[in-house]
């Protein structure tokens, strides 16, 4: 049997063995790749890659973006029934008084566009004309676990793929030596209270093949798990060993004809390449002094948000499709001003530097940068209330998300909340609309990026209708 024909026949065997359970609905995909009739995108993409800066714990829109100058008049007054409505609140503030806590921070209009931003974000303010602030974000979840999960996977119930996994699955990879989807959690943060847990399901592949799951880069040790050769093995030894391994695997492929063996060989080669490419990626020695300074002093500390921002830029340069940072510590139920200030100190300068750095290198035009938490915070106070000291509870009914670059119209504000930053009064954007918009910018129609599972053509945006927010796209 000739090598080639054997391979072609046993490709089918590979499909069976991969155990991906191909139902009738998936049959068409078996034929299509061979015909190459599939378009790679549904429409022209504005963005090639995404840097998703996830502020886990939910930063306060009231103190950062959603300026309500009149609130000061309502200080310590009960939030009017008419505003509050009958929706659920968390177990923490249920049945307690809900007194208005205006922000203690100053807001100023910024740039030519005049976006109002808080004094807590002095560096980001300078980029106001590049930013789009969506002030009418809303979600169904009222607690962190479901909130984060629905922001990252479109569903409050575990088991669904994350956005990065969907994109890896749908769009394939842009580079040969690095993963499609990289996750970098900060190892430390300024606000020390109530630091909510992360779960690897936030970057999981759910029911998609697990090769699409996010690869989490570690702050200490190997950036990618098991990247380093174990003690006693160096690169030359590994290289020689892999040569022999390949000879043996190749021999077995010739005997058994299972193309899965070819894949094993290819992946072992890729692993060897990653042992060189990943350390190169995280090696900052070639960065200029100016660049390092731009990200701030923390850039020198492994696991800092600042360093992860710089790494994100390097990954964007290397065409990693989806880069997700997690910065924890935003859950400010009490003493918010102190903790919020510390958190903003962590993220303000590095985020601004990332935008500027991408821009200078011509990458911002096709890199979408997203900055958001899982929900917002209440205008009413939780705990002690003075002009200087207050806390805020979870608030799913409105919050602000920021988008920059990647085809986004800069210097814009979208959606409106009422005078208490409590209810959306104009142009609501649900999390699923937000997801649909991200996919759209990448050239993907959210209705058509599907995977058959449990009898449904599953989508990132779920079964409810989702809307692309065309108004914010340049």
């Amino acid at each position: 049997m000739s090598h080639a024909s054997h391979l072609l026949e046993s490709r089918r065997r590979f499909l069976l063995n991969s155990g991906m359970g191909l139902g009738a609905a998936a049959m068409s995909t078996l034929i299509a790749p061979q015909l190459s009739a599939m378009p790679s995108l549904h429409h022209a993409a504005k963005a090639k890659r995404v840097i998703f800066l996830f502020m886990a714990g939910a930063p306060s829109q009231v103190d950062l973006f959603d300026y309500k100058p009149e609130l000061i008049k309502s200080f310590k007054q009960e939030l009017p029934e008419s505003v509050r409505g009958k929706q659920r609140v968390t177990a923490m503030t249920r049945g307690k008084s809900k007194m208005v806590a205006p922000t203690k921070f100053k807001f100023q209009p910024q740039g030519r566009s005049g976006l109002w931003m808080s004094e807590l974000l002095p560096s980001l303010q300078k980029h106001a004309d590049k930013l789009c602030l969506i002030k009418s974000m809303n979600t169904d979840a009222i607690n962190h676990d479901p909130g984060k999960l629905s922001f990252c996977t479109g569903s409050e119930i575990p088991g669904k793929p994350s956005i990065g996994a969907w994109l890896s699955y749908g769009l394939g990879t842009l580079n040969r030596d690095l993963p499609d989807f990289i996750v970098m959690p900060s190892a430390y943060w300024g606000g020390k209270v109530n630091v909510q847990a992360l779960y690897s399901r936030l970057w999981g592949s759910g029911f998609l093949p697990s090769k699409h799951q996010g690869t989490s880069f570690q702050a200490t040790g190997d950036p990618v798990l098991f990247l380093s050769n174990p003690p006693g093995v160096n690169r030359e030894i590994r290289g020689t060993m892999l040569e022999s391994l390949k000879q043996l695997n190749r021999k077995h492929f010739n005997e058994l004809g299972d193309p899965e063996i070819e894949t094993t060989i290819a992946q072992q080669e890729m692993a060897f390449r990653m042992q060189a490419s990943v350390p190169e990626l995280v090696d900052l020695s070639q960065e200029t002094k100016e660049t390092l300074e731009m990200y701030g002093p923390e850039v020198n500390n492994p696991g800092s948000y600042a360093r992860n921002c710089l790494l994100a830029r390097r990954m964007a340069e290397s065409n990693v499709r989806f880069i997700q940072l997690f910065h924890r510590g935003w859950d400010h139920h009490s003493n918010l001003p102190v903790h919020l200030q510390a958190q903003c100190k962590d993220v303000d300068q590095p985020t601004a530097a990332l935008i500027q750095d991408l821009d200078q290198r011509g990458l911002l035009k096709d890199t979408l940068v997203v900055f958001a938490g899982e929900f917002g915070r209440t205008v009413y106070c939780q705990g002690k209330l003075t002009h200087e000291v207050y806390g805020r509870d979870h608030h799913p009914r409105c919050f602000t998300a920021m988008m920059v670059g990647g085809g986004i119209r800069g210097g814009t504000e979208y959606g409106k909340t009422d005078e208490f930053s409590y209810n959306v009064v104009e142009n609501p954007v649900h999390v699923r609309d937000f997801h649909a918009t991200i996919l759209h910018l990448l050239g993907v129609n959210h209705e058509k990026l599907v995977f058959p599972y449990q009898g449904l053509d599953q989508k990132l945006t779920g079964v409810e209708k989702a809307r692309v927010v065309h108004e914010i796209i340049a």
Binding site: S5, S28, A37, Y199, L225, L227, N234, T240, T263, G455
Partner: protein
């Protein structure tokens, strides 16, 4: 070459691309058709061929869900279909046909905005034929009672294919389709396959040689049977088969939400292993889990089994709304019950009627009513001891209980001493006020002494308390099910919202399945368990048998092991599934005889190699014309390394263990400052099913190789082949240590037998001359390199054993552990 890493996934093409695809297929259609000329004349089966198509493309608007039904047409119901869309026997007068072949965007079905693929030419041909043949509707196969099939007469195939009932059922289509089965696998391959499939471990060299010698004297049939019996009798069987169940019911060591507390719950895992090893019938296995607490005088095991209902994620009290948590827990329970036992996606009917299967939203809540009467708070306390939420029971042994009591008494007595000392000190304190200077000095000395005592006692109390909780971690507890006296009323929840109660419902099972036989005082979970395991229940047996088949062949007879509903795949061998299910139920739902029966068949024993013609005739092996070859599960890969390097500690049961893992993984996600503290000694060489499973960050050695996160019910794992997996198997430090351990054993062998010994230990095969040559060359090269770099050599340890030879052999074993044939089961 196939580059998995670069292949794009499935994006539905735009409509015009589908059309061009259809056009292209129409052009090639006649050729394709002539290849399968025989099939075209065969009658089309509604169950096999038509229902899956209608379900996928049509049912979401023309199916069971009333709220989304269009044009009042139900294509799942013949009456409605005949009235509106189908004229049996005539495509020309069937509106359905006109619509599905229409080229007009406004009338074509499925409509463009449904984002469903159009029917392919093959599919159209089948529908056409089905209508022409009378559009006969049959009851959906999986919902019809199991029927014993007629066993085909022994075939005119080779002798070895003529007797076994499984072979007769599999081979019956061979002749008609012109298929030839593959040869039987060789003895070594077969021994390894059987051993891996039954125990999750490859055979040791000793067992392998025992089998090979036995085969020489008694022949294949007898030797194989003896091997299978031996494997089924070994306790490792229960550990392996039980692991699949643990995936299915999302068993883990932490609570999975918010602070993700440790959950002392290993008693359930122990029970599952024991239940499989004792081959408790599956009917009992199911009944104990569903309703063990409702049996008369339930045993400890029967109560332990009810932990099934408590394996869901649970949040600690503080932030979430208890009524929402309650609802989520109950939905999770219904989902687990229907996925594990019925193979149905019942949870799809949580917010609306099911789109594809005849489960109404109301019926979902009637099932929900069986599981919502738990006598428990929906959340754990803020800092739950052992991570447990009442009701739970202690399974402490008498010795453990005695030890616990001792600790308690010590702590109590220390407490009393503390109180006394404190009181004494306070008394001196009061004296101090009116004391003279001279007295003061004395009193202060007394106070200092008391303070010293207090601090010593507090210290002792702390360490006793710590010691107690340390000890307590190894004591077994288990959360159980318990009914409230007064049943909670159950409402349909409108749009699935926990705070929008609608119509009141009673406990019941879905109407399309046999009816429930409720107790006079009202339906109970025990009634539900009896309903499930009654012989007329069409799903329980089929679903269980299919999962066993999947575990032995890599793919089930029904590929979608988690979905036996309308959207699942129809069985590749319906009669075989019926036969096995009947046999299973008749045998008292015994798993061991079922496995043995399957393993003894020629179907199972085939080689995975096939001739070119055989491949062409059965390209995806749906007809089972050859053996299957697929990658081992994560646990099996690690266990194989431990076994072959002679490091495996084969201890059964007990609390989870922590083998080393890279630093910082927990730290990066935890909310409560947890750090992973690896165990030492025997604990790190236990089988992988005992590895500690933190839901927030499961062990990477497992998840990199496709183990699920254990936060949702998973009936089958997928298998990928990725660079992360290559990195893991090449570089995991423990795996390299194992390679060194085996290398040391190899060096104890006579020089000329070392390569064969090593190769055979790892792969169960003997290396041929070419393979030996590659290994020899590698050895020589490695030895030279390590001789030249003493610095590198030192990293293997500063003991005298760390010679260039040992280092070279370690790398050879590392090579063997990374062979594709090692990580695959063939």
């Amino acid at each position: 070459m196939i580059h998995q890493a670069t292949s794009p996934g499935r994006i539905l093409p735009d409509r015009n691309h589908i059309l061009s695809l259809v056009m292209l297929l129409l052009l090639v259609w006649p050729t394709t058709n002539s290849l399968h000329g025989q099939e075209a004349t065969k009658s089309v089966s509604f169950r096999q061929d038509i229902r899956p198509l209608l379900s996928d493309r049509c049912f979401s608007c023309h199916g069971p869900d009333e709220s989304t039904r269009e044009a009042n047409l139900r294509l799942d119901d013949p009456d409605s279909a005949y009235e509106i869309a189908i004229s049996p026997g005539s495509v020309d007068s069937s509106e359905l046909w006109a619509r599905i072949v229409s080229t007009d965007e406004d009338s074509v079905m499925p409509p463009p905005n449904a984002h469903k693929p159009s029917f392919t030419p093959e599919e159209l041909a089948k529908i056409r034929q089905w209508i022409q043949q009378g559009a006969n509707y049959e009851t959906f196969w999986a919902f019809s009672p199991v029927r014993s099939p007629q066993l085909p007469a022994p075939q005119t195939l080779p002798d070895r294919w003529s007797k076994h009932p499984i072979d007769r059922l599999v081979a019956q289509s061979f002749k008609e389709k012109g298929l030839t089965p593959a040869a039987e696998a060789d003895a070594r391959t077969l021994a390894r396959r059987v051993s891996l499939d039954v125990t999750g471990l490859p055979p040791t060299r000793k067992t392998l040689h025992w089998f090979l010698e036995l085969e020489q004297t008694t022949g294949r049939e007898v030797a194989l049977e003896q091997l299978i019996d031996r494997l089924l009798d070994s306790p490792q069987y229960g550990e392996h088969i039980g692991r699949f169940w643990l995936d299915l019911v999302r068993f883990a060591d932490t609570n999975g939400m918010h602070k993700d507390f440790y959950r002392n719950h290993f008693a359930y895992r122990d029970w599952v292993i024991r239940a499989y090893n004792e081959d408790l019938g599956f009917d009992k296995f199911a009944t104990y889990q569903i309703a063990g607490d409702l049996l008369e005088n339930p045993t400890q095991d029967q109560l332990t089994a009810t932990a099934f209902h408590r394996l869901h994620l649970i949040i600690d009290r503080g932030t979430a709304l208890p009524e929402e948590s309650f609802h989520k827990n109950v939905v999770d329970r219904v989902t687990a019950f229907s996925t594990a036992f019925l193979g149905l996606t019942a949870h799809c009917a949580q917010c609306h009627d099911h789109k594809y299967d005849p489960i109404s939203q109301k019926e979902f809540y009637s099932l929900y009513a069986f599981f919502n009467n738990i006598d428990a708070q929906p959340e754990t306390v803020a800092r739950p001891k052992n991570g447990l939420q009442a009701p739970f029971i202690s399974l402490a042994t008498p010795e453990q209980q005695q030890k616990l009591d001792e600790y308690t008494n010590t702590i109590k007595s220390l407490d009393q001493q503390l109180v006394q000392t404190k009181k004494a000190r306070q008394e001196v304190d009061t004296l101090l006020k009116d004391a003279t200077d001279e007295q003061k000095e004395k009193l202060q000395a007394q106070i200092a002494k008391h303070k010293q005592d207090e601090s010593r006692l507090s210290q002792q109390k702390r360490s006793a308390t710590n010691a107690r909780s340390q000890f307590d971690r190894n004591v077994s507890y288990v959360m159980v099910m318990k009914e409230r006296k007064q049943p909670r009323p159950t409402h349909v929840l409108i749009r699935g919202q926990y705070d929008s109660p609608g119509e009141l419902v009673q406990r019941d099972t879905p109407a399309f399945l046999p009816s429930l036989n409720p107790s006079p005082e009202g339906a109970t979970r025990l009634d539900l368990a009896r309903w499930l395991t009654a012989p007329q229940n069409p799903l329980a047996g089929r679903v269980a048998v299919n999962r066993i088949w999947q575990q032995l062949f890599g793919v089930g007879l029904v590929k979608t092991a988690e979905d036996f509903g309308s959207q699942g795949s129809p069985p590749s061998h319906p009669e075989l599934l019926e036969y096995l299910t009947m046999r299973f139920v008749d045998s008292g739902w015994k798993t061991k005889p079922l496995i043995k029966h399957i393993l003894m068949s020629q179907t199972y024993r085939q080689s995975s190699l096939a001739t070119q013609t055989a491949y062409a005739a059965d390209p995806d092996n749906t007809q089972l014309t050859r053996g299957s070859r697929y990658r081992l599960d994560a646990e099996m890969i690690r266990d194989q390394i431990l076994l072959t390097s002679d490091q495996l500690v084969n201890k059964l049961y007990g609390p989870s263990v922590k083998p080393p893992q890279p630093d910082g993984l927990w730290k990066a996600v935890t909310m409560i400052g947890e750090r992973y503290q690896a165990d030492v000694g025997d604990a790190i060489y236990r089988r992988s099913l005992y590895t500690y499973w933190k839901r927030g960050m499961p062990p990477p050695q497992m998840t990199i190789l496709n183990a699920p996160a254990r936060d949702a019910c998973i009936a089958r794992r997928e298998r990928t082949n990725t660079p992360s997996q290559a990195l893991l198997l090449l570089n995991e430090p423990e795996y390299l240590k194992a390679a060194r351990a085996l290398a040391e054993k190899v060096l104890q062998q006579p020089k000329d037998q070392r390569i064969v010994f090593a190769w055979e230990t790892v792969t169960c095969q003997r290396p041929d001359a070419d393979e030996q040559k590659v290994i020899r060359q590698l050895l020589t090269e490695m030895k030279t390199r390590y001789q030249a770099s003493p610095e590198l050599l030192k990293q293997f340890g500063d003991d005298t054993k760390a010679t260039p030879q040992l280092a070279a052999w370690t790398l050879v074993i590392n090579t063997l552990y990374n062979l594709d044939i090692t990580k695959n089961r063939d």
